[in-house]
Subunit: 194 residues, 2 copies
DNA sequence: GTCTATATAGTGATAGAC
DNA sequence: GTCTATCACTATATAGAC
């Protein structure tokens, strides 16, 4: 099992992505240099270009795989009643976002560092996710379970409210994530009810 | 009214701040160079340092005056009933933030580019604003008008929901700001009611 | 696959002339 | 108050050795 000269590991690629994720989230895309990522991984800067065409592709890949994962992980059962579907969405959203704060942060904050084409792809994926919530809200309005004048507005309000948890939640805080999720669910439920 | 040699205008200071506000919001603090700000103002880079000690002070000043203005502009009448006070807060918040999207964006996105000391000052001002909303919620809980298990959680949910409007609102969109404000107010009202 | 070395350009900030 | 010139660094990305 021969190795080429400088190959010290078969997992440099994932480590590059992990380092970039951490550093972009902590300092912002523009404030992180390729040298800094290389130092974090433990290689020289030239080696990074075996794993990414350039710095912006690295950012795009991180955002893209985050949103891919979000769409894959989220589920909805159109046969259930709208209230149960909405509760499931709320609980899923909070926990999924809680589990990957760095990716969430980057996906919201670094959109302007994408090229126009990459931006359009990311926005398309985000819209697909948001559509799932709006579909639930529409079903609830149709069935009479929910009362909202505009499902798109309500969808945005709910998403912003839930995602905002990531900006202040601390695991050693006063309330557990489950307590917080329960309170948010009650607020969402009341906000869209009659 | 003599002028010193290169003085072409008495309002360079405000123009530096306006250019920095616009560029920081559009590209991010780290991605904007002092040369770029100077070009936007129409001076050479050296001249900027007559108006700011360094780049970070410029950012801090923008955030600080934004939050100062926010605290000055917001008002609350403790004699009114909690529901009216909450409605007033919601309408004020939405309109104030709508009117200055660049400053709002910077105040949320560029916190990590502040020194520890500057960060603490900005966070203190933000907390003071948030306390005003929490005070209203507490009054409503005490009077029985509102039912929320935790006023701090509810406060954060309301702030995130309202501030989120800035991320998607477009003046040429489907709904007017007043329509949107009315819908958000109904959702907030229901979310904190019994 | 990783290294070193380098090309080319840009960075924040300052000094001193006017 | 603004200019020009400059210092000392840092940036992304690539070439070619191993």
């Amino acid at each position: 099992m021969a190795r080429t000269a400088g190959s010290h590991s078969g997992i440099t690629g994932p480590r590059v992505r992990a380092a970039a994720l951490k550093l972009f989230a902590r300092q912002g895309f523009a404030a992180v240099s390729m040298r800094e990522i290389a130092r974090d991984v433990g290689v020289q800067v030239g080696a990074l270009y075996n794993y990414t065409a350039d710095k912006q592709s690295l950012l795009f890949d991180l955002m893209h795989s985050h949103l891919d994962e979000l769409l894959t992980a989220s589920s909805d059962d159109p046969q259930s009643d709208p209230l149960s579907r909405l509760q499931h969405f709320v609980e899923f959203h909070v926990h999924f976002h809680h589990d990957r704060p760095d990716a969430v942060f980057i996906a919201y904050m670094e959109l302007r560092n994408l090229s126009a084409e990459n931006f359009a792809r990311i926005e398309g994926l985000r819209r697909a996710y948001e559509d799932r919530l709006e579909t639930i809200l529409k079903a609830g309005v149709a069935s009479g379970d929910f009362v909202v004048p505009d499902t798109k507005i309500a969808m945005r309000a709910v998403i912003a409210m839930l995602t905002g948890i990531n900006t202040w939640f601390r695991p050693d805080g006063r309330l557990s994530l489950d307590d917080i999720t329960a309170q948010y669910w009650q607020m969402v439920r009341k906000a869209v009810s009659a």
